[in-house]
Assembly symmetry: D2
Homo-oligomer: 304 residues x 4
């Protein structure tokens, strides 16, 4: 299949819609000032073919997409024991709800809600310098240096009362081992990773290659079985409270962030990254989802 023309078509169809609907995340200034009328799309096949269109080279804050990569790091370090602290079920509730945490004694339902990612960050603090390790991991996956946006990390920390509430609440149940402050420092930094679509499509590449490093050469990122499981979690839990609808209408494992990015996987074939800052009511990129729907419609690629 010729992918570049398809991405160009998608870009052509999305451009006229820019700025018409949705709302850019406004809870911190660094996100609020991102112009809404941007759209990028990039992909990479498991053979290494790449294509992109629109603002695919513009870096943005990957926010919750980082949960995908910290989960991968934690799974490969800890194996099955990770799941003693974190569930694997969709939350059925807004992504930062405390209700379910209370019902389930401080065990987050899955690693892609905020509480779950904070629990993963706590696990990553067990060994070495978690922030440095994450940067090294991301840079290796993307094939070029990736950095934190320190302004974003500082803003997240200064206003992240709800995440402080979540972390303290889990700690009250004995489900967080480290002090809340360094755990959240890790979490706020991972959310502040700055990448563009091309880098994200590359970095997620192991998810369509049975765990093999996306750029080849290096040792495998994780096992085939772990890769399938991460894809399954993305499909059932990767897009906040809209996961069911996204599976229904797009049918690909996806992980989104409030920065407007979404990573999607076609197992054994390719990974995609789309970005457009304006969000729908569920916190997912409005035109990002639209672009993925177009991609599936044009290519017939879907896991179902």
């Amino acid at each position: 299949m010729q992918f570049q023309p398809i991405l160009d078509q998608i870009n052509d169809e999305i451009r006229p819609l820019l700025g018409q609907a949705g709302t850019v995340a406004s809870y911190i200034p660094a996100l609020a000032r991102v112009p809404a009328a941007q759209f990028g799309i990039a992909m990479r096949t498991c053979e290494g073919e790449e294509a992109c269109a629109g603002d695919a080279a513009t870096p943005f804050s990957i926010q919750s997409i980082s949960k995908l990569f910290t989960l991968t790091l934690a799974m490969r370090r800890m194996g099955e024991v990770l799941w003693e602290r974190i569930g694997r079920e969709p939350s059925g509730n807004p992504f930062n709800s405390l209700v379910q945490l209370e019902n389930e004694q401080g065990k987050p339902r899955n690693p892609f809600i905020n509480a779950g990612a904070i629990a993963v960050a706590d696990r990553l603090l067990n060994d070495g310098d978690a922030q440095r390790d994450l940067l090294a991991f991301m840079s290796s996956l993307a094939g070029e240096p990736i950095a934190f946006d320190e302004e974003v990390a500082a803003s997240e920390a200064a206003t992240g009362y709800r995440n402080f509430a979540l972390a303290n609440f889990m700690k009250s149940f004995g489900k967080i081992d480290h002090d809340v402050t360094p755990v959240l420092d890790m979490y706020f930094h991972q959310c502040a990773l700055r990448m563009n679509c091309v880098q994200l499509a590359r970095a997620a590449g192991f998810l369509c290659r049975d765990g093999a490093h996306p750029l080849g050469g290096a040792p495998a990122v994780c096992t085939e079985r772990q890769t399938r499981r991460i894809n399954a979690l993305m499909l059932t839990c990767g897009t906040y409270d809209a996961a069911g609808d996204v599976a229904f209408s797009i049918g690909l494992p996806c992980k989104s962030g409030v920065g407007g990015g979404i990573v999607a996987v076609v197992p054994d074939q390719l990974t995609l990254a789309v970005w457009s800052p304006a969000l729908d009511a569920t916190g997912n990129s409005l035109l990002g989802l639209k672009a993925l729907e177009l991609f599936v419609a044009k290519t017939g690629l879907s896991v179902f």
Copy 2:
């Protein structure tokens, strides 16, 4: 791939485990008296090749698996308008919870929780004789006559207070159009459909054939797009509160019932039906899930 030897191996591995764990559903006598130590498996490829092993010819009560077929009927009759009354998100709660219904003003989160299936039954009562139509649909799909187990239907009705509560609750929000009694009569009958693994694997065949009738010849059961969507719903919502775990460990769209049956789909390839009456804590067949895990491990087939 040679499937018959694989099913035989699975049967050989499962047989020694029969009767060791899990609990047969006991809320009605007709289910409670089913001997636990039974296991059947059957499959059918999209080309029509069939294989089966164990108690694949023993009929059982398909219970919630029926929700898959009534949903299909309702989708092809009503199209998009069906979703005004029913959501498409995982429930994140036990399958018959009233809490979420209250929060969401009587709109069930998806068509595979009891409330959702009751809402689907209400929609099916709009046209013709819903029970007769369902029997005709099932018989056509299975290629042989399918009937209700009237004893089961009567027992469900006599003890189904929670379903009466759900239906009345939805009606209090104006989300059920017909009288509660005929809606639940339809619902209790669909749960009482009596089929075996071979029939179920066949009947679900349209789900691996882009909606084409499983036995060929007849007009399509539904569109390709609808088929993908049904598969997506099965994956995210088909196995009660364990859908996330089942996606994680098996990675196939599945729909289970408390009679111990599970239907699974490998899109574009085959459908599977497994049955073993003893349930795990989530209400899914313990050895049915185990058999599906073995199948995926032996064949490498999974959507991820």
Copy 3:
């Protein structure tokens, strides 16, 4: 204290406010067509002195005020065993919520929420003809014949889906012994009792007389201890989700109904009944509460 002038003053102050705010209950036609601009107040001291003003002789549907009388009947028949099925805590939730019932396995939090009153009705069906017994009880307390408004009872039954849901839900937990239909028939009839303020102030008289029959002569209605407990329940649970606010601003045990009536008790001194059909957002009579506030301000009577 001279009470008649006080009630006259209250009537004079309330009259100009009639029809300005609040909404008459509209869920059944017989309630919806009651003119909003009515107000009555009546009282009776424990020595038998009576006073009234405004529309105190106009009969209305007492609705949830009946829960006070059925509770009294059940307490004197069953004693402590009643509380195995019903709690004594404020609900902290809208009065007909199913959530708490689910969390507490079908045991209603108190006898004044709908679920609790339905559970009380179930208990009353254990002996004799519950509806006839209730009429006899009310007529004896009021000193004149009291009857059901059969149109109201029939309308409640025809539209009471949420109460059917509650009753079936409790039955699913084994917390209702009789069939749902006769239990709700009793419940819908008790809600349809038709009384005026004078009759209600008299009928509740045992609550300010340590359980002695309000009109004297007859045997005690209940013990002093039971009387105190009923008053305590009225204070903590008697006015739907506003009980805390009513205790805070009025400071008297009260039981309200969506017909616009409220019964209040000044222990050892008097009982009051007020009525005005327009309700506030919590389902309590807007001007009824206002009148009680005025009464407390003018007399200094309050339990605190």
Copy 4:
């Protein structure tokens, strides 16, 4: 009435029960090491008559009883505006639940749950040195110097993750104005007030004297109307999730703490303080409640 003999009788009846049931709060060492087998009772009439028995002079950590005094301070400083941030309804849920906070956008249901008392502490930080002011207030009320137990305050701070979660959660809704750290420093200190039964019965004395200072002479503590309202809040919300049961069985406004103390009010007559460290399942002093039941039974004093 002769009160000293009554307190002596109560002490005689309670002593043999010491150490038989209940559990001393163990979440911090300073509380965990308090010997369970202690019981004290003290009272003071509105005329100034005092009586006491048992371990009435032994100081203990008043914990949540402090919420009564900080509420009084905040009410007299702020008047009605206080209630913009705090509700007045019973919680219907365990005392430190986050669920209701989420449903109600960070507004605690009442000032006696932890979240509510933290919100009150935030209000008190608006003016002057809140901790010093509280000590001055308590010392004035008790007529002798009252101090914080700094070990308890430090332990509360070191382990109070759930309170950090509550405060951060409210701050995420914009319902806490000051930084979380000083707000909780105030809160942990108020919980660490160290007093005995005699001091507490005295200090609460304004609640039975229409707001007049318990020891006379000084200006009124609060208005009569405020006093009634505080008593009402104690009755509906003062004993965690057992408030309904306590109103039902004791019938007096009470405020309890997990240190084992309970303050009770007989309006216009007297205040009582009881203390026994072993708690029941609801977090209230098991024998403290028993002693209050005995007091009500022996004296006939109750608000109902």
